[in-house]
């Protein structure tokens, strides 16, 4: 009897010890990225080199845009202050390498979610913050009003190494039109070439077309053709292998969208703490223990809504009010005719 008890006791002791060590190891392994971020005190965010509406720096170095707001949301949730973000402008060539090598922790750079990028190069897409499609831009004076008027021999400018290049080829081949592709590395060079007349049309995501048009000499001279030739779901990307960080970024974005669904804005978030709707209470942190899943306190979602705003506020501030794309198109809540439908935060 004594022996069995002793055995049981030692077994329990060993088990507890192993459990403790195991959870310690697991917790340490749980999110190296989150631990490093907390230690450093800022979120390392990779953005574009200047795309109005998505990620653009003004003369004093402040970054604004919907992509920027995703990173700020993560900073608000994890570090308590949405301004604790370090932005690294990246070209299309180095964006993925910067992420896989550890230079940045989130890539929020209007990147299209495709199978090969998700499965083949060690990255994970965590959501879509802008549903877009690829389109063409032409000069009004050319008289072209639809892509069906494209003729053989047309010259099309775009960026190299993007899904745009591949989609352009698919489009022209399916229509049987022979075209001449001119592809530059930097978006500014593409715009300059198109503006000077080197190319007849400029193609990229429609949001990019709208944004770049504001940077041209005479924005009113150009129109975006109505046809959309591909699906371009743009969203943030993180490294494969760190699931807690992945979930944190994913749910920061989801919280922003769901907050708009329930009518919570940055100004009324505090007053919503006493609302009748339990889901609203969960979103503002007065009910439930959702933050513990990431190792954060309960106010993580409240901070996101208060400091960055909900999805609608972010869109309005960056894209609608600046005149780039006043019409939200598919980027509207599912309850209002769009396709923004996120899983519930509960």
């Amino acid at each position: 009897m004594r022996k069995t008890l002793k055995n049981l006791f030692s077994f329990l002791a060993v088990f507890t010890l192993m459990f403790a060590i195991g959870t310690e190891v697991m917790a340490a392994k749980k999110s190296k990225t989150l631990k490093n971020t907390l230690k450093k005190g800022f979120v390392r965010c990779g953005v574009s080199q200047g795309l109005p509406g998505f990620s653009n720096a003004d003369a004093s170095g402040n970054w604004t845009g919907v992509d920027v707001d995703v990173c700020r949301a993560v900073a608000a949730a994890a570090l308590g202050d949405a301004n604790k973000v370090k932005f690294t402008p990246l070209s299309a060539k180095e964006r993925f390498t910067a992420l896989t090598s550890g230079e940045i922790d989130i890539l929020s750079r209007n990147t299209t979610w495709t199978l090969s990028r998700d499965a083949d190069i060690g990255l994970t897409f965590v959501g879509v913050n802008f549903y877009d499609g690829q389109g063409f831009m032409v000069r009004k004076s050319s008289g072209i009003t639809s892509t069906s008027q494209f003729k053989n021999g047309i010259t099309a400018c775009t960026n190299i190494g993007t899904t745009t290049e591949l989609n352009m080829r698919d489009f022209f081949t399916s229509k049987g039109i022979s075209y001449e592709p001119v592809a530059f590395e930097k978006a500014d060079e593409v715009v300059a070439a198109y503006d000077a007349g080197r190319c007849d049309t400029y193609t990229t995501d429609k949001s990019g077309l709208a944004a770049q048009r504001t940077k041209m000499k005479n924005p009113d001279e150009h129109i975006v053709l109505p046809e959309t030739i591909s699906k371009e779901p743009l969203g943030p990307v993180v490294r494969q292998g760190d699931s807690v960080w992945e979930d944190l970024v994913r749910w920061s974005l989801n919280v922003m969208i769901e907050a708009e669904e329930y009518g919570i804005t940055s100004s009324n978030a505090d007053s919503m703490k006493t609302s009748d709707n339990p889901q609203i209470k969960r979103l503002v942190g007065s009910e439930g223990e959702l933050g513990a899943a990431f190792g954060l306190d309960n106010e993580w979602s409240l901070r996101i809504i208060k400091q960055v705003g909900n999805y609608g506020e972010s869109y309005k501030r960056n894209i609608a009010d600046t005149g780039i794309l006043p019409d939200r198109g598919p980027n509207q809540l599912w309850t209002k005719g769009g396709i923004l439908y996120v899983p519930p935060a509960r």
Binding site: D120, I154, E165, R198, D200, G241
Partner: protein, 381 residues
């Protein structure tokens, strides 16, 4: 003594293995963590992107390996044209630098000093973004030489259309063989009788005459397709037919030629000046004219001094053609280490292949130069 020799070598080998091993192990760990595999299988995958200018048949349904070939051929094309043009320009400017004519000498000096001291990248930018962008749109272009158009979309010239191209090649080959025999005969005659045959004129006649005869006899046919303005939309036009040379290629070639020609001109000048004055004076004393002295006495000796650094310049030109990545010319670096790398994400394999290609080209040129040096080395008795 022996220990002195072995120990440093062992240390070196150990150090090299340490460094390489460190890198390889890290790379392997990193790739495993990310789930990326190392392998060259991606070369067989479909490329899915089109290339603007290619010398061989290519479209998006071909493999990455073929895209690599297209890029390589484009690089070699620019290098080839650049080498020929810069050599001609370099020789002319080099000789001009030594001319007694004050104006010519000063102009040549100005050219060399100006183009040598501005970075090549800036020159390429200037030619592409400033000069060639200022060209007119196709519909406003002026007629050059009766049938060519310089437009912002490119240089459109008539393209030759061959019938029975192989007959033309055979006639060319035949004329070359005839020229070879003419030279042998001329040399024999000079050694035996001391009389000179106007070799150059005769060979030129043969080179042009025989293909011309075959042409008139109907052996092959040559016609030209001319570029015609075609309207794509109310304000955009393009040219159909003929040959279109993209402005990227033109800008790159012009910039490379002007830049490299300055170095070749300096080499030529150093070579000619390196020939002792005695040679010139002796040649003048037997009654040769200036151009004869240059052609028969100076240049053959000067070539010995000129060729090694000039071969180095050819190599530099080939390496500098990689700057095409900054403008949109689809050479090896832009197509393979640019587009292909961005689409497949396989950085290590692609950069390694690109560097290996350039390394082979430069090794080939170095080997050629070593062989040439050994052949022309003055064997001192």
């Amino acid at each position: 003594m022996k220990r002195n020799k072995i120990l440093p070598q062992l240390i070196t080998i150990f150090f090299i293995i340490l460094v390489f091993g460190f890198f390889t192990i890290n790379a392997q760990i990193n790739m495993e963590n990310r789930g990326i595999e190392f392998g060259f299988g991606f070369l067989k995958q479909e490329a899915s992107f089109d290339i603007q200018f290619s010398l061989i048949e290519y479209d998006g349904s071909h493999s990455y390996a073929r895209a690599y070939l297209v890029g390589l051929l484009n690089t070699l094309l620019v290098a080839f044209i650049g080498i020929i043009l810069s050599t001609i320009l370099g020789i002319v400017v080099g000789i001009a630098r030594l001319s007694p004519n004050y104006l010519i000498k000063k102009t040549a000096t100005f050219y060399v000093e100006f183009f040598r001291n501005i970075p090549l990248l800036l020159q390429i930018f200037f030619w592409y973004f400033a000069a060639l962008r200022a060209l007119p749109l196709p519909q406003d272009a002026n007629l050059l030489l009766g049938s060519s158009f310089m437009t912002i979309k490119g240089l459109y010239t008539p393209a030759p259309l061959w019938e029975n191209f192989d007959v033309f090649l055979i006639s060319l080959f035949f004329s070359l063989i005839l020229i070879f025999f003419v030279y042998r005969y001329a040399k024999k005659r000079q050694e035996e009788e001391g009389k000179q045959l106007p070799k150059f004129l005769i060979s030129l006649c043969i080179f042009i005459g025989i293909p011309l005869l075959t042409f008139f006899a109907g052996g092959f046919g040559l016609s030209f397709t001319f570029p015609e303005l075609k309207q794509l939309a109310t304000t955009s036009y393009t040219y159909n037919g003929g040959m279109g040379i993209p402005p990227e290629l033109t800008a790159l070639t012009i910039a490379l030629t002007l830049y490299t020609a300055t170095f070749i001109a300096e080499n030529v000048r150093a070579g000619i000046q390196g020939i002792g004055k005695g040679q010139k004076e002796a040649a003048a004393s037997i009654g040769l004219t200036t151009s004869q002295i240059l052609k028969l006495v100076i240049m053959p000796q000067a070539l010995r001094i000129i060729i090694p650094p000039t071969t180095n310049q050819y190599l530099n030109l080939t390496k500098n053609s990689s700057l095409a990545a900054a403008i949109a010319y689809p050479d090896l670096v832009l197509v393979f280490a640019g587009t292909a790398m961005m689409q497949t994400g396989r950085a290590i394999e692609i950069v390694a292949i690109t560097m290996a290609t350039y390394l082979s080209i430069s090794l080939a040129i170095s080997l050629f130069m070593n062989w040439y040096n050994k052949r022309i080395a003055i064997k001192e008795k």
